[in-house]
């Protein structure tokens, strides 16, 4: 099973010109460590909100050249805000893509168990009438990313990962600066 960092390295290759919104904690820190870009919006708090923000951004992309808006969220975050799955399904946001890194734990707070060990998040997404791809290895994940970016329609990529964390500095920027860079990229 790959690590979150292995998966992020794959995603980084295919998203140079795609808005990406990353969840708080280790996900954003590892994502930023690969090289900061203005198309990245790093969430520093509000766990579980990145899929919702990506829905809003994707609504505004209909007349812009970007192929997708991608949210990266963990299993704990998705289970904290399953409402975003309902909204993505209801609105049928064509450019919305959610990547769920599922390590069955809250890695950023010390690895406490989440509920995901007994819940299949891909099936939850399918229950909301969303298309979902399940993967647990680098090769399948890379294919899923490449294909999903090119296809229309909301999609969830559910990735089982191990519980490894990279040590990276906190993202302690002024959030207004983080959003200004992202907004400038989008507009």
């Amino acid at each position: 099973m790959m690590s979150r960092f292995d998966a992020l390295k794959i995603l980084y290759k295919y998203t140079e010109n795609i808005p990406v919104i990353s969840s708080c904690g280790n996900t954003s820190r590892e994502w930023a460590s690969l090289g900061r870009r203005d198309n990245h919006l790093y969430m520093v708090d509000t766990m579980g909100l990145s899929p919702s923000v990506a829905i809003g951004v994707s609504l505004t992309l209909e007349k812009k050249g970007f192929k997708k808006c991608i949210a990266i969220e963990g299993d704990g975050g998705v289970l904290m805000n399953p409402n975003s799955l309902a909204s993505a399904s209801y609105l049928n946001t064509q450019k919305w893509m959610l990547i769920v890194f599922d390590n069955e734990c809250f890695a950023s707070t010390g690895g406490q168990c989440s509920l995901a060990s007994r819940i299949n998040i891909a099936k939850v997404a399918e229950g909301f009438n969303l298309r979902a791809i399940q993967t647990d290895n680098a090769e399948d994940f890379e294919k899923a990313v490449q294909n999903s970016i090119e296809e229309d329609g909301p999609i969830v990529i559910h990735v089982k990962i191990n519980q490894e964390n990279q040590k990276n500095p906190f993202i302690n920027d002024d959030p207004a600066v983080l959003s200004y860079k992202f907004l400038s990229f989008l507009n």
Binding site: D45, L49, S52, G56, L59, N81, A176, S179, L186
Partner: protein, 174 residues
């Protein structure tokens, strides 16, 4: 529906239209059903329902970051579901949006629990430094649409979420 509520709904509709907003996100309240119904059947603003206010703040934030302007129309109880997103995302990231909030609690309220959140809510918002403008029977109804329009502009000009809260039931100050 009383005449006051009818007239208030008309003013709210006019205010929302005058903002030139692109999107209206709604969770229902019996007192402003007429407003939601109006925008469901209108081409002026894209309106859609949300299932929880926190998700709504996230979606509205994304719309705003994407260069368009959102309004969210919810009950005041929904602030309880979304205050973390309002403060640590919309406020912290300087994301403009207008949040229109109907008041629960107070005279005319028959629910025996909701008052426990709705009554202290203005103090909660003040403590959280979420700028809130309040409309009730003391503000002439013809000023409500102007307040909503200015609320939207103020959100854009000051780069943050602004709440305009209205007591549509009439009666005394809550």
């Amino acid at each position: 529906m009383s005449a006051f509520q009818d007239l208030a709904c008309e003013e709210i509709i006019k205010g929302i239209e005058d903002t030139g907003a692109d999107y209206l996100l709604t969770l229902p309240c019996s007192t402003i059903g007429k407003v939601i119904e109006h925008f469901e059947n209108s081409d002026t603003i894209t309106s859609f329902p949300i299932s929880r206010e926190e998700d709504g703040v996230g979606i509205a934030s994304g719309i705003s970051l994407g260069g368009q302007f959102p309004i969210m129309l919810i009950q005041d109880t929904g602030i309880g579901n979304s205050i973390l997103a309002i403060t640590t995302f919309a406020l912290a990231y300087h994301v403009p949006m207008l949040i229109l909030v109907t008041r629960r609690g107070g005279f005319g309220e028959i629910n025996s629990a909701v008052n426990l959140f709705s009554e202290p809510l203005p103090e909660i918002l003040d403590a959280a430094r979420v700028k809130t403008f309040k409309l009730d029977y003391r503000v002439p109804l013809k000023e409500w649409s102007t307040a909503i329009k200015h609320g939207a502009k103020y959100a854009k000009d000051t780069h943050r979420p602004i709440i305009v809260m209205f007591n549509i039931k009439g009666g005394a100050e809550q």
